[in-house]
Amino acid sequence: MIEAGQPLIQIEDLTKVFYTDEIETHALSGVHLSIRKGEYVAMSGPSGCGKSTLLSIIGLLDTPTAGKYHLNGQPVENLDFGARSRIRNQEIGFIFQSFNLIGDLTVYENVELPLTYRQKMPSADRKKRVMESLERVGMAHRVRHYPSQLSGGQQQRVAVARALAGHPSILLADEPTGNLDSRNGEAVMELLQDLHRDGATICMVTHDPRFAKHAQREVHLFDGKVVAEDELQKLMADAHV
């Protein structure tokens, strides 16, 4: 078990290359990244810089072309599909830009969904966790509602509850405010901050500097590489971005 302050995610010299026909696209080139337990990291950068690709690899939705990736001290870069599904279910909580709630499931069922994919979890435990998560995001009174009956901000709070229900090691948020107005966006950011204060490890992708400031640390990406903030400014200025 990783203690607070220890690296939860350790990425070394990570590369991701996409092949389409005969074209090679280097989405990530030699990325080094370490996220400690309890840390709140924001990944930012211009469109196409590779931040979502990096988040997909961190979330085990995708695999790197080369490099090393340790999650909770375990190498995970070469795991098969099933093993990645299992670890994703146990260790990672996702918050998507477009919420990705399942329209035919109630709020309760949406939050319960990742727990149903766990082997041998008693339904009483599931219920307890679901209700705790929903109470944590202030949506416990909407358990019987369907996503279509909720506002965007409420849907994202349910999505956060779903991510929390599995007690993951890390929350991965991909532009969590991208589909929200500023008031709801702020509310979600406050919720993430609350979670962080309570000890959650968060890695958030955002292109909005206002929201990036909520994080403890900002990681800047440019052309598939992690760069320092001042270097990013220079590169962006050079590239007229």
């Binding site: 939705l61 599909f81 599904s85 994703r88 477009s98 035919d104 969904l113 990742p114 149903t116 996503p147």
Partner: protein, 783 residues
């Protein structure tokens, strides 16, 4: 288990939410499964359930082959020789499917029955459920006749009383002792329906040329069918040499008993079952295509579930569960549909025909059918869900999580949906055309020239007790009195008598020679009938040359005959047959008959048979106690039939009547017409089902196409497109389909095309209308 319940609940919820999809898919599966189950019920009853005999595969039916055909009766002396000489059968017995005149306190009644040799039931391996089997020797002419009751006959006629054993029943005027009751499950289709199974073989036991028996034999252990056939053929050859007068050109023929009992219906059922399986496949493909299109819309959901940790196996399980839920609902409705369709199909079989197919009694819902439905429903459920499930993305790519692969849905739809609909509608069109052609064929068949005017003709079959009316001095007065009294009934124009009604099975044949021509031993076998002098006039048959019989032409006058055109063409080509003489083969010269008339062919056999050579002789020169009345009337047949029966019973209450019907009904109910009508109904039924499936598929796929293009439609509506233009967008797809149907010149083809076009346009108009009502705000809303 809980997750499985959750999957089922989710599947049900999805169906509730997507009612259009649910109704389309369930209806489609119900039709496919229902049609297959309905036909399977018949296949099960006929081809799968074993015949109710001991080791039925070792039983064979024996025939004598003669030039008229390979499956003719055996003569009693030949039966005895076959039985004695063969080395291949454990036992050989005979049966005769000939009913009885049953003596009752109310007078004689015709009773269904069969006559068998004493060892018949032992050969089949049947033991009576009550009483005993026939004993050896009980089938001898000198023995006291004994009878076994069928279970149905026992219940119907004796209320299932057990004290009937030892009682006597009068059959054909002779007391028969009831010795037992056959098991409930026993049936023997070639002799059914039969309430009474007697040992009274009604045949001339000395006459080797008198054929009236069918043989049933059980093969010795280790003897193959071909060995047995060879053995019995050798015996037939020896008998031919030994008895050239009676057995010339005769040989043996043998068939497995299964072929005899279900052989005729087997190909029909196989074709029907193939058609049903094709329908099921079509339904399955329809639902698969619907699920495929739906799977495109679920890519995002599946990607989200995967991202949340569902393994591919878990996702597959969920999708298969959803397919099974769909199939379970579909098969439940399918079973209801099958129950209805089975009853409908069984109802199409006339009662007398159903009676001759006892294995179909009680066809319908049973354990076999349930297992079949469960199996096809499970297989369908798995297959229809596996195909789309295997196409789903199990990598949780950003594209799938964000867009759900919407772009590919359109191409998938175009590739699969459109082609499928075209194929299905084309198949339905072909089936409809086939059904149309069969209906036309039936119409043509019913228009076949029967050689008579069937309108206002009424027929009634008469069976007078043989013991009383076998002599001419009794039979002729009966015929005369009956004709005279029926002729006085209101609405009767004329009355004719015949030994056998037209449109029968063309039996009643005899061999003859032409007087003045050398007899080279050839077999001249033709149909013959004894008819009254008024018969041809009553039928309004066409006299080509010569004359009809005179009323006075009885046994005291020189024998005369009238031949038909087919006879003249075959035996007197280019000659005028009138005045020529023919005689029965081997008969004394005094029975030679002069041909006094030539008539056009009257359909003595089936409607679709080629005209058969036939000659007619005066009834009064060869009277018989069993005959048929043909009455030309001016009134409806039913009241007249009742009055005719009343007249008969007034003359003699022991005379039985049966088979009363109009000639039109006789034509319509004839086996050929029945076969054509059934084929037309079945082809029509399949065509309608295929057509329904095609329309359902079209409607469903277009509805899904519309749902897929909701976003596009929303944008169009937001850009102020008129509703009509949106409807046109959807209908444009359908127009391409319809223009794909080639124009046919034949009215049948044209009618089908118009029908298809109308229904297809209607099927696409409904979703098009719905599409035109899309609210841009709803369509463009993200979630």
């Amino acid at each position: 288990m809980k997750t499985l319940i959750q999957d089922v609940q989710y599947a049900l919820r999805q169906l509730r939410k997507n009612r259009g999809f649910a109704v389309t898919a369930i209806l489609t599966l119900s039709l496919g499964i229902g049609a297959s189950a309905a036909i399977f019920a018949f296949v099960d009853a006929t081809l799968i359930k074993p015949l109710p005999y001991k080791q039925p595969s070792r039983l064979v039916v024996l025939y004598e082959s003669i030039p008229l055909g390979p499956r003719f009766h055996l003569s009693y002396p030949d039966y005895l020789d076959w039985k004695k000489v063969n080395t291949v059968f454990r036992s050989l017995d005979v049966y005769q499917n000939q009913g009885f005149m049953l003596g009752t306190p109310q007078g004689a009644q015709l009773a269904d029955g069969a006559r068998v040799s004493a060892g018949f039931f032992r050969t089949l391996g049947i033991t009576p459920m009550l009483g005993r089997d026939f004993r050896e020797g009980e089938d001898q002419a000198s023995a006291q006749p004994t009878v076994l009751l069928s279970y149905a006959g026992w219940q119907k006629r004796y209320g299932g009383r057990k004290d009937i054993l030892g009682q006597t029943v009068t059959l054909d005027g002779k007391p028969n002792v009831i010795v037992g009751v056959l098991p409930r499950e026993f049936h023997f289709a070639p002799a059914e329906p039969a309430d009474f199974w007697s040992t009274m073989l009604g045949t001339d036991r000395e006459c080797r040329g008198c054929h009236s028996l069918y043989g049933v034999a059980r093969l010795l252990d280790g003897v193959s069918f071909s060995t047995a056939f060879a053995d019995i053929s050798t015996i037939a050859k020896q008998l031919e040499k030994q008895y050239p007068n009676s057995n010339r050109n005769q040989s043996a023929y043998m068939l497995p008993i299964t072929d005899v009992i279900v052989g005729d219906i087997r190909p029909v059922l196989i074709v029907l079952f193939s058609g049903a399986v094709l329908l099921l496949l079509t339904a399955g493909v329809n639902v698969t295509s619907l699920l495929l299109v739906r799977a495109e819309s679920r890519k995002r959901e599946i990607a989200v579930r995967g991202a949340l940790g569902a393994s591919p196996a878990r996702l597959l399980r969920q999708l298969v569960t959803e397919g099974l839920v769909l199939a379970a609902i579909g098969s439940s409705f399918g079973l209801l549909f099958a129950n209805f369709a089975t009853k409908l199909l069984a109802g199409l079989v006339p009662k007398d025909r159903m009676a001759s197919m006892p294995f179909l009694q009680g066809v319908g819902f049973n354990l076999d059918l349930l297992v079949f439905v469960l199996t096809i429903s499970a297989v369908s459920g798995i297959l229809v869900s596996l195909v789309p499930a295997l196409r789903l993305p199990y990598s949780q790519s950003k594209e799938n999580l964000e867009e759900g692969g919407r772009a590919s849905a359109g191409s998938a739809w175009r590739r699969i949906g459109a082609r499928l609909v075209v194929i299905e509608l084309a198949t339905a069109a072909l089936l409809l055309v086939g059904a149309g052609l069969l209906v036309k064929s039936l119409h043509h068949l019913l228009q076949v020239d029967t050689g008579m005017e069937p309108k206002h003709l009424v027929t009634l079959q008469v069976a007078a007790p043989f013991s009383v009316y076998s002599k001419p001095e009794k039979a002729i007065p009966l015929e005369r009195e009956l004709s005279a009294r029926v002729a006085t009934l209101p609405g009767v124009k004329s009355v004719g008598i015949t030994s056998s009604l037209p449109l029968g099975d063309a039996d009643g044949t005899t061999q003859f020679v032409v007087i003045g021509r050398p007899d080279n031993g050839e077999t001249n076998e033709v149909t013959y009938r004894e008819v009254s002098s008024t018969y041809f006039a009553t039928l309004e048959a066409k006299l080509i040359s010569g004359r009809y019989f005179a009323e006075t032409e009885d046994a005291s006058k020189p024998p005369v005959t009238i031949i038909n055109q087919a006879f003249a063409k075959l035996y007197f080509p280019g000659e005028n047959p009138v005045g020529k003489r023919i005689n029965y083969k081997g008969a004394p010269a005094t029975s030679a008959m002069e041909i006094v008339g030539l008539v056009d062919e009257i359909k003595e056999g089936q409607l679709d048979f080629a005209p058969r050579a036939a000659f007619y002789i005066p009834f009064e020169q060869s009277p018989r106690p069993n005959f048929s009345l043909v009455v030309r009337a001016t009134q409806a047949s039913q009241p007249l039939l009742h009055e005719m029966s009343t007249v008969l019973h007034q003359i003699d209450p022991d005379i039985a009547t049966f088979g009363g019907m109009s000639m039109i009904k006789r034509i319509h109910d004839s086996p050929a017409a029945y076969l054509h009508r059934s084929s037309a109904w079945l082809a029509g039924g399949f065509a309608v089902l295929a057509f329904l499936l095609g329309i359902v598929a079209l409607s469903g796929v277009i509805a899904y196409s519309v749902s897929w293009r909701t976003r596009e439609i929303g944008i169009r509506m937001a850009l102020c497109a008129q509703r009509n233009s949106v409807i046109q967008l959807i209908l444009a797809f359908m127009r391409n389909l319809l223009f794909g149907v080639r124009p046919w010149d034949l009215p049948t083809f044209f009618g089908v095309a118009v029908l298809l076009a109308g229904c297809a346009l209607l099927a696409s108009y409904v979703p098009a209308r719905r599409a035109a009502k899309v609210d841009p705000m709803v369509a463009l809303r993200y979630e």
